[in-house]
Amino acid sequence: MSTSQESVLPAARLVDGVKTYGSGDAAVTALDNVSVDFQPARFTAIMGPSGSGKSTLMHCIAGLDSLTSGDAYIGETRLGDLKDRKLTELRRTEVGFIFQAFNLVPTLTAEENIVLPLMLGGRKGDREWIDNVIDTVGLRDRLTHRPSELSGGQQQRVAVARALASRPTIIFADEPTGNLDSNSGSEVLAFMRRAVDEFGQSIVMVTHDASAASNAHRVLFLNDGHIVHDMSDPTADRILDTMKSIGS
């Protein structure tokens, strides 16, 4: 299915990932022995019904949650070995995040939010690159505004810019357009796709919106903690068909 060249190191991968919540009779298996590679410079969407384990998959690879067993890697780094401090530093430098809502620190300006991970690491970052990112997402004239002064779409664009600013190994997006109207949503998705195509950024996006997922190079379908389908070069229609087949 995946056309993985052995010479290229995946941006992130999961090997035999198991995640169980609770214990005994109440135990729920959210990830059931899942292995997956995310190639660099690719835009991958993860889809599946509620409770399929798609969010858990993302959280475990992104270092926000820990696996019950198995290994998660960002680049060459095995997350299970890291203490909180190292993990935090890894998230700061190697990972970018775009959440569904409440993506920005309300007391900081748009620009400060964009460079927040860099500042937290006490780094200046590559100014030219950051300017490039800011122009790409079209936020030049909004830099001094605070989140409350920005529209929902603009806020998500700031979030995209922040994720890109530190040139992380991989960006995770959790329903990044879930709170946006369709116009703003497509705009944000277009920026994400450009980041992959033009800058070679790797992005993994969790969504349940077929048209959002159709912006990706590849779509993984999850159900009951398993990857049930892996689709390349998706279209909205094919995605919907697959979703239907999973749902039934």
């Binding site: 926000l64 949650d65 935090t88 530093e89 998230r91 700061r92 500042m119 937290l120």
Partner: protein, 847 residues
């Protein structure tokens, strides 16, 4: 509804406990004030009754009701003892005389035996009798060349019953007596004071008061009532003596103690009220935030049928539960406070007699009413707001809309303006009477603080930005986030720091007042005193032998000596405040403030205060009739008029050459000395100290030492007052912890986000702590500024010759601000840790 409210309370237990603690502190202090005052009252009532237990009648000079602090009371001839004892209505009569700090025992090494703090009492005792309150512990009562002392003094001095004891007399001479026994007073305990007792003739000799007594105490013959006894004694006495029953004396004494205890209790109560007042802000802030957070919950309850009134009742029930619990704990805590204060004052030297702590029903009621009242009153506004929550609020998502400040500003101004007006009226105006003045200042101050607290929300954000700017610059993004959060919710910032602001405002106000007093005193000293050395009794400014002046005058190292002696004289028939001084040398040692005529009034003249002269219509050269203590009456001419720049606090001045002749004892309270020009001050001082060496009670100080001593005393007072006010800071501390916990909780999601994008735990903690530091520094600055204004206003209000200028203790004020910041950092320790421990994923998925 009750169960719902209690559930609400349980769900927010931690927060309510902090709130509870802040109320408990105030309540405990209130309860402690009452408990301590009540206990002291009982103890001193008992002491009074013990002291005069067998006394049926007392004979004394008219106007001497025993409350004279230095016991330099009008004395009278002991010839009346026998005439009273001879009355058939009297079973027994005994004359007594006593004085403080006149005679001392001297140990084998020649060192005077003195307690530190409490005084040394010298008095007469005829041995156990129906009217005596001294008890023999060991040995016998003193007769003739014998002395009895308390056991502690005996132990300290190494004196044994039957062995000789050296006694240093008021004149500085030493005499040897035999220790007849050891004694103690009443039901035991001497309050730390030392006692030296002789029989009456020996005491009169020792005190240089031959033939005189302070009072005569009489026991009635069997079957004779005290009233009958008093009536029988009266005809024996001249006009200036009176006889009263033992009950009257006990009543007077109880009243004297009672007045002192009331003042003491009221001062404590005042501090308690300040602490309670401060805690209302914490309660109010907690409930306001809780109500804000529960808006959705209230909306839901409203939408399923709860009425606004029911919601309001829930908030009140919760507040009532807090108040009730706080009252209970505070009541018990009051015992601790009372015991602690008793101990504190004991270590400070003012030992209280032993006795149980007692709680009266009144205390119980007051404490519950106050605890509940404070809690409920602080919850009024939040409860009303809760009642107004619309059912629709249940469906609103996201945070609470920030209410505009307009209402707050209007309210704040409406409270501040009358507050300031009332405060000014109390300070500068004349509300009539002390309690009216204090009420005006108290209420005015409270309103002013509430007003400032409300209005400070206007600029809390801006000021927090400015204070936070260096933090943001130095600490990078953590500082920047701290700064942003500190200015985020100005209303909360301002109510959080109100307790800190009030506490530090009062402490700084006291500091400014203290510095002003010291600066004024400094100025006064340098302007008014030209003496190189002063001599005075170091304990309570009691009298000492005037013979010292003559001895000092003979020293070649000494140029001028002037002694000052308080007088009991009548001018044209009226008792006046008068001082005798060496008029030839007086002006060379102190500023007498002479405006007309001369200070050298001589034995045929006198000087009068300008305002007194005006009042009586007297001028230079006029003659007045003066009657001295011994009855000597003469006409004296006004030779000088002085004003209030004079160091001497009296309306009339006489020459000591005249007054020493007509006082019963030649005693002075102060002597000033100038050195012979060209003499080495150290040598001169050593010579003076050789002379004063035989007067252990005397202190010899120069200007600098005198100033230092005054400074130390005032500083000590400042420490005591500030120490009590520090309780406000403790309350403030709870308040900051509370707010920071709430803020962290409210920002859970934001914290999750920050952690997700790479903020380490340490950075997060640091950012929370800096936030608290910025908020606290804001409160501290506000407090210090208010304190300076208050202190400055007080200086103007009190202004007389005593406080002539305003001094700003910059160092202390800066320290207060730093302390405020540190307080914030420490308060944020727990909330910061809690924030750092949040699970990233859980935090980020919170609503």
């Amino acid at each position: 509804m009750l169960r719902l409210a209690l559930k609400g309370a349980r769900a927010n237990l931690g927060r309510l406990i902090l709130t509870l603690l802040s109320v408990v502190l105030g309540v405990a202090f209130v309860s402690g004030s009452f408990v301590l005052a009540d206990s002291l009252r009982s103890i001193f009532d008992q002491v009074s009754e013990d002291a005069f237990a067998g006394v049926d009648a007392q004979v004394r000079a008219v106007g001497n009701d025993l409350n004279s602090s230095n016991a330099e009371v009008p004395r009278f001839s002991d010839e009346y003892i026998s005439s009273i004892a001879d009355l058939p209505e009297a079973k027994y009569a005994e004359g007594g005389i006593f004085a403080f700090e006149r005679a001392y025992t001297v140990d084998a090494n020649g060192e005077v035996v003195r307690p530190t703090g409490p005084p040394v009492f010298t008095g007469s005792w005829s041995g156990p009798s129906p009217v005596s309150s001294f008890r023999i512990i060991d040995g016998e009562a003193p007769v003739g060349q014998q002395v009895a002392i308390d056991p502690i003094q005996a132990e300290r001095g190494g004196f044994t019953v039957g062995e000789p004891v050296t006694v240093s007399l008021p004149s500085g001479e030493l005499e040897t007596y035999t220790l007849s026994g050891t004694i103690d007073f009443g039901e035991g305990g001497t309050g730390g004071a030392f006692f030296i007792l002789f029989d009456l003739p020996t005491t009169q000799h020792v005190l240089e008061l031959e033939g005189l007594v302070d009072s005569i105490v009489v026991a009635a013959a069997d079957g004779v009532s005290p009233e009958t006894l008093v009536a029988a004694i009266a005809p024996v006495l001249p006009d200036d003596l009176e006889a009263v029953t033992g009950a009257v004396v006990i009543g007077e004494q109880k009243e004297d103690f009672g007045t002192f205890i009331n003042i003491f209790g009221n001062i404590l109560l005042g501090f308690a009220i300040v602490v309670l007042f401060v805690s209302t802000f914490i309660i109010n802030n907690t409930f306001a935030t809780l109500v804000g957070q529960r808006t959705r919950q209230y909306g839901l309850m409203r939408s399923i049928g709860a009425s606004g009134k029911q919601i309001m009742q829930m908030v009140f029930l919760e507040a009532g539960a807090v108040g009730f619990a706080a009252s209970g704990i505070g009541l018990v805590g009051g015992f601790g406070v009372a015991a602690g204060l008793k101990k504190l004052f004991s270590t400070a030297g003012g030992e209280f007699p032993e006795g149980p702590l007692e709680i009266r029903l009144r205390t119980l009621i007051v404490v519950v009413v106050v605890g509940m009242g404070v809690s409920l009153a602080s919850a009024v506004v939040p409860a009303l707001r809760a009642a107004r929550v619309a059912p629709l609020e249940a469906f609103r998502t996201g945070g609470q809309p920030v209410r505009p400040l307009k209402v707050r500003i209007a309210f704040g101004s409406a409270v501040l303006i009358p507050g300031i007006a009332l405060l000014c009226w109390g300070m500068f105006g004349d509300p009539g009477g002390t309690s009216a003045t204090l009420s005006a200042i108290g209420f005015g101050g409270a309103l002013t603080f509430i007003g400032v607290s409300m209005l400070s929300a206007m600029f809390a954000g801006a000021v927090a930005s400015v204070i936070g700017a260096p933090v943001a610059r130095l600490r990078g993004v953590t500082g920047q986030i701290a700064q942003g959060n500190a200015r985020r919710n100005p209303k909360r910032t301002s109510s959080t720091v109100t307790a800190l602001m009030i506490g530090l405002a009062l402490i700084s106000g006291v500091a400014v007042l203290t510095r002003s007093i010291l600066d004024s005193f400094d100025e006064f000293l340098s302007e008014s005193i030209s003496a190189d050395l002063f001599v005075f009794e170091s304990n309570q400014n009691l009298e000492f032998s005037g013979a010292l002046v003559d001895k000092l005058q003979t020293l070649p190292e000494v140029d001028q000596v002037a002694g000052f002696s308080p007088l009991e004289v009548r001018v044209d028939g009226d008792q006046v405040r008068a001082t005798g001084f060496d008029s030839v040398t007086g002006t060379s040692v102190v500023n007498m403030g002479i405006t007309e005529g001369t200070a050298a009034i001589g034995t045929k003249g006198l000087a009068v205060l300008d305002t007194t002269a005006t009042e009586l219509g007297l001028n230079l050269g006029d003659t007045v009739t003066v009657e001295f203590e011994d009855g000597f009456t003469t006409d004296l001419t006004i030779q000088g008029i002085f004003d209030d720049r004079s160091v001497i606090d009296a309306d009339w001045l006489f020459d000591r050459g005249l007054t020493r002749e007509h006082r019963i004892t030649d005693a002075i309270t102060f002597a000033g000395i100038t050195f012979t020009p060209g003499t080495d001050p150290a040598v001169a001082r050593a010579a003076v100290e050789r002379v004063t060496g035989s007067f252990p009670q005397l202190a010899v100080q120069d200007n600098t030492e005198f100033k230092q001593q005054a400074e130390d005393q005032i500083a000590q007072l400042q420490i005591v007052i500030s120490g009590l006010l520090v309780l406000c800071l403790v309350v403030a501390f709870f308040g900051i912890v509370n707010t920071m916990v709430l803020s962290v909780l409210e920002r859970t999601r934001e914290i999750g986000l920050l952690r997700a994008v790479g903020m380490t735990r340490r950075q997060l903690q640091s950012s929370v702590r800096w936030e608290a530091a910025i908020i606290s520094v804001f409160g501290a600055l506000l407090g210090v500024v208010l304190g300076v204004i208050l202190g400055w206003a007080s200086v103007i209000a009190i202004s007389d010759s005593f406080i002539s200028k305003t001094g700003i203790p910059w160092g202390q004020l800066v320290t207060f601000v730093i302390v405020g910041g540190i307080l914030g950092v420490v308060a944020a320790w727990f909330p910061a840790r809690r924030a750092a421990r949040l699970d990233v994923l859980e935090a980020i998925s919170t609503d």
